[in-house]
Amino acid sequence: MSTVVLLLFTGLGLGALYFLVAAGLSLIYGLMGVLNFAHGAFLTLGAFAGWEVARRTGSDDWGIFLLSLLVGAAAGAAFAAFTEFVLIRRLYQRHIEQLLITLGLSLAAVALFDGIWGTDPVFIQGPAWFKDTTEIFGARVPNDRFVCIIAAVLVLLAMVFFLKNTRYGMIIRAGVENRSMVTALGIDVRKAFTLVFTIGGAAAGLGGVLASHYFGYVSPMLGGSLLIFAFIVTVIGGLGSLTGAAIAAVAVAVLQQFANFYLGGTGDFVVVLALALVLLFRPSGLLGRTS
């Protein structure tokens, strides 16, 4: 029982990270049709920015941790907004070329991170409470899992609130549904594009800081490895669906943890297998629109 609970919470924590990456990817794809390969670089930049905050202030209390979350999210958001404004904007409607741009950007950015911070992972210190465990049904769950889960739930709620109840949120939802109609109504969708990129980048940056605490280190490869699972999550959840991304993120991560433990480290294959099954029986994903 305790093992199951532990695996469940570890999976939920990992799922939270997947969700933070996949949410932005899914929204960006849904609205703009861009598969954003640079999303991993947003995450890595956020993680390094958060780490720099912790390192420069030299303390590891809660205030600094919250500040590092804020700085990480801001760094991710700034990088994402820059990407959209300077590079993607020139190539609207050219989806593959936009993809190629983000691909080139991720190559260049990861190489630059290599040059600045080195290729080796740097280890990170959080508040001391992170290292403790909390006992739930006899399982000793590391506390950083809860932080990831709570942060992801808050981000999900905030995003849902934003999409449902604000004017720009409605424009974005309408744009995902039918972009040309929104344009025809005289609304400038391009502002929504920048906005979606910024929100996605902020979520990824936040995810980066959390991931660095979850894994205990930061490295230039951090974003790339999470990005591939985030791709799988977005396909399984249905491209463009935020709720789908949340459900799929949890399902994929929990499945991965259980398979890793009970089936001898086969978590990654089980995930790819799940992807193949979803594609065979529901090519548009769990909550994707059937087209």
């Binding site: 080139g104 791709f231 995930v271």
Partner: protein
Amino acid sequence: MTTDTDASGVNSAGTGASQGTSTPGSPAGLRQTAGDGRSAPPAGPRLTRRRILGAAAGLAGVVLLVLLPLLNLSLPGVLPGPTYTPGSLQLLAMCMLMAAAALTYHLLLGVAGLLSFGHALYFGAGVYGLAIILQNLDIPLLPAMGLTLLVVIVLAHVVGSISLRVSGIPFAMVTLAFAQAGSVIVGRNPDGTTGGDEGLSLRTENLPDFLVGVVNTRNLYWLALAVLVAVFVVVTWVQSSRAGHAAAAVRENELRVRVLGLQPYLVKLLIFVVSAVLVSIIGMVFLLLQSGAVPRAISADLTITLLVMVVLGGVGSRWGAVIGGVFYTILDQRLTTLANSDAIDTLPDILRIPLSEPLFILGTLFILVVLFLPGGLTGAAQRLAERRNRRSGTRHSTAASREILEESA
């Protein structure tokens, strides 16, 4: 080789017609769309002459490349030494293999419009498959290659038939996921078969002597050259075959192909498998050349590198893929040498850090090419040539490249 640009010219005409007046699904429209330049009537005798000239130039180039190991040419800045030295031959052979691999990627992206992010899986299957078979079984090289090929054919059918259920960007993601699974297997090192991060060194006991050792680099060079020429011929043949035309038609307008009673799924699967088989053969020669399998050979980075090569050279052009492959490989090697040189070390940080990362420079260059040079290097060269002799009826490879990219979305 002018066929590519011809094809593109016809393609743009074809899509224009299909959106315009021609009745939907009319066979004539399709034939024109699919006709890979060969059925373009107006060019006539000039085209034939140009094609003969092109073939002659290609043949002369191949003869020169065959003779290269026997010559003493120096290209300072491009090659590390005179052309007969093993170091230079190794680099040249690598250029040929990468150019050939880029050609197989061209078959996917430029012909069938399939944006795959899992091409490295088959390259890696060739590299690791052959290495593992040579390591564990006592059979000569050719049967071992045949066995590897069998594995790759099965693998490509399984992965291809699943991932082709979706198209466009979801297809890219799914192929990426499968390739990642392959990369993870290699990294996990099950029962010590793949060597994990260390890689696997080539066991040479069952190899013919003329392929082993630094002294025989030029044999490997000739082998790589033969592979490049063979892949070029096969790709040209596939592209101009009925299947190739059908694949190009699927890229243009899948619905119309289906209306005509053809099966887009099977055509795409065929191209997918052919391209996978070709790249796995290249992978096997890569193993012989590198005398070892490294995890990079099966990583997503390799696929991305191939994509970058094809885009740098110009999407939709066979020569573009070759030029992109050679250009990228040499640039990568030179930039790595530059990064480790003393001149870079003395620069201030703000210049030193970006310049000492070859991938940063290549990535930036790639972004610039996508933004400002649509159609890649061949497209740019074509535009220069067009500007020099402005004659009517010139074809716009730039627009064609962009169109191919749009169609694969």
